[in-house]
């Protein structure tokens, strides 16, 4: 038993050491409505994030797995989703695509701008990563040559092609919230987390019931096991 414990401790140590040695950058951690035991989609925040996405991000980034109908999963009514789509001159089932084509993108930025609709799953840290990047632009420290890029505290390698996309007051929120950089970054990170896994909240809520069921099932199976084995245990 002692040896099993030693082996386990060693493997845990190994795992932590593996993470530490990757030379990764500590991201800013934020509170998200969709994590923890009371996970939910904050409809107003998703609306604000949607406003940032459709007023700022969309000029370069597409959201190809998102259509306005998806908003109903986050608590919007079908009419609200249709109204928002209408404001963009879009059908409720239409994909949200940027006007920037891959060719233009390549010419302007030297790379194809990534689609954002699974971004919260495609980077370590997910929403924390998005939030950190958006608020992580700084003057490059003396001696760091960023070339045509920009300096970002949280980007791996620190030189990012995307210029700082958000600045205070850039978006006009329909609910009157003050559009600070922090606020916009947090809202749009929530929006991207939502479109990356719209099922996330449903999944987390359902998990509780499945786990409760399994714990009861396992406990009953154990009681039954003991009852069936009683005569064998007695004999030996």
């Amino acid at each position: 038993m002692k040896k099993i414990l030693t082996a386990l401790t060693l493997s845990v140590l190994a795992a932590t050491a593996a993470q530490a040695s990757e030379g990764h950058i500590e991201l800013k951690k934020s509170d998200w409505s969709f994590t923890g035991p009371r996970a939910h989609w904050d409809t107003m925040q998703i609306l604000r994030g949607y406003e940032v996405a459709t007023q700022v991000c969309i000029s370069c980034h597409s959201f190809k797995y998102f259509s306005h109908r998806n908003l109903t999963t986050a608590g919007f009514t079908e009419d609200q989703a249709k109204a928002l789509a209408g404001k963009m001159d879009m059908d409720v089932n239409q994909k949200l695509l940027s006007g920037l084509t891959a060719e233009d993108s390549k010419e302007t930025y030297g790379l194809v701008v990534p689609d954002l609709s699974v971004m919260a799953k495609a980077r370590h840290g997910g929403p924390d990563y998005i939030y950190s990047i958006l608020t992580g632009y700084e003057e490059a420290p003396a001696g760091v040559d960023v070339g045509n890029g920009n300096y970002n505290k949280y980007f791996p390698g620190h030189v990012i092609a995307m210029p700082a996309p958000l600045s205070d007051g850039q978006v006009t929120y329909s609910d009157g919230t003050e559009a600070t950089l922090e606020q916009m970054a947090h809202d749009v990170a929530t929006f991207i987390a939502f479109i990356s896994e719209p099922e996330r909240v449903e999944r987390q809520q359902m998990g509780v019931y499945v786990l409760i069921y399994l714990v009861i099932f396992t406990a009953l199976a154990y009681v039954l096991k003991c009852a069936i084995w009683r005569d064998i245990k007695k004999k030996s």
């Binding site: 040896k3 030693t6 082996a7 060693l10 493997s11 190994a14 795992a15 050491a17 593996a18 040695s21 990757e22 797995y65 998806n70 990534p114 609709s117 699974v118 799953k121 495609a122 980077r123 370590h124 791996p156 896994e197 719209p198 099922e199 999944r203 987390q204 359902m206 998990g207 499945v210 786990l211 399994l214 714990v215 099932f217 396992t218 199976a221 154990y222 039954l224 096991k225 069936i228 084995w229 064998i232 004999k235 030996s236």
Partner: protein, 389 residues
Amino acid sequence: MNKAMKWFDDRLPIFSFLDKQLANKPAPKNLNYMWSFGSLAGVCLMLQIITGVFLAMHYKADVNLAFDSIQHISRDVTWGWLIRNMHMVGASFFFIVVYVHIFRGLYYGSYKAPREVLWWMGILILFLMMATAFIGYVLPWGQMSYWGATVITNLLSVVPVVGKSIVVWLWGGYNVGDPTLNRFFALHYLLPFIICAVVFLHLWALWTSKSNNPKGIDLKKQTDWIPFHPYYTIKDIFSLGVFLIPFTFMVFYLPDYLGHTDNYIPADPMKTPPHIVPEWYFLPFYAILRAIPHKLLGVIAMVSSIAIMFVLPWLDSSKVRSANYRPIFRQMFWLFLINVFVLGWVGANPPEGQFVVIGRVCTVLYFLFFLSLPLVSKYEKTKPLPTSL
């Protein structure tokens, strides 16, 4: 058996077969919970096949559509996200279960006579599982799918003379591309059924040579045996519950934890990811591959690290099966287990600095475990064995 069942059974004796081989099969009465991992592996295989069949109904094996079709499954297919998460997490848990099952066999000497062929079938299943899992990871067509496939299939190019031709034949072209994806999908659907066939042979060998037990002795007394049902059916059902709790937790709360975030970036042949890492269950073998500076020898070492288990029953000639009665082998077993974990850790890290040294030392230790067994089994002083339970 009622009349109708008897009529059927006289013509096709399925019921008496099930009765004889499963329900009333005598099993040693002292099997511990480590023996539950065999039936758990069976459950995992079924789970992968059932979820896999449903995924295949919505998946598209085309380089332009594959990534999108996975998103379609997660977003639009009814319960698609649940089925996909179960399949993804299920693959990892299948390997956890099978690795425990193998280490149990190693500890209690289940590979020894008369169970050598039973053991062989198990190793064969492991090889087939690895092939299936590797191919399956290519299907989502993310960055890690593409580059993992490129790196691993390229290993075959080291085969002398025909290596390059084999790789082109396997790819169906001059790089990993649409033909590769298409045939990988076909193979990923085929291999599980071949695994099922080998599992049947594995069970057949088990029914013939009967279960080993924690004491590792041949049980002669009638009272040492109990019927499989209900004793081990209920024990295995309880074990299944214990297994399903962490499994379910991962499915609902950390479905991507054991995967790699890069696989949510669509495959891009023009852009190599900074670290190409295989799935966690390949890491120890990946470390062995990279420990050897010569490409061909590295591939040979990696394949041998598993293939050596085919000859394990002859490397270890000790008549005593269970490590509980073998003081030296027992110590070696635990060191070997720790060594495999360390190899996994090395495999997860880039091959530089200390990791190269540690990887090489651990690779030597890995093979030393097997190669020292002929001597150990000859000179080891074993403890006296009981004659019955």
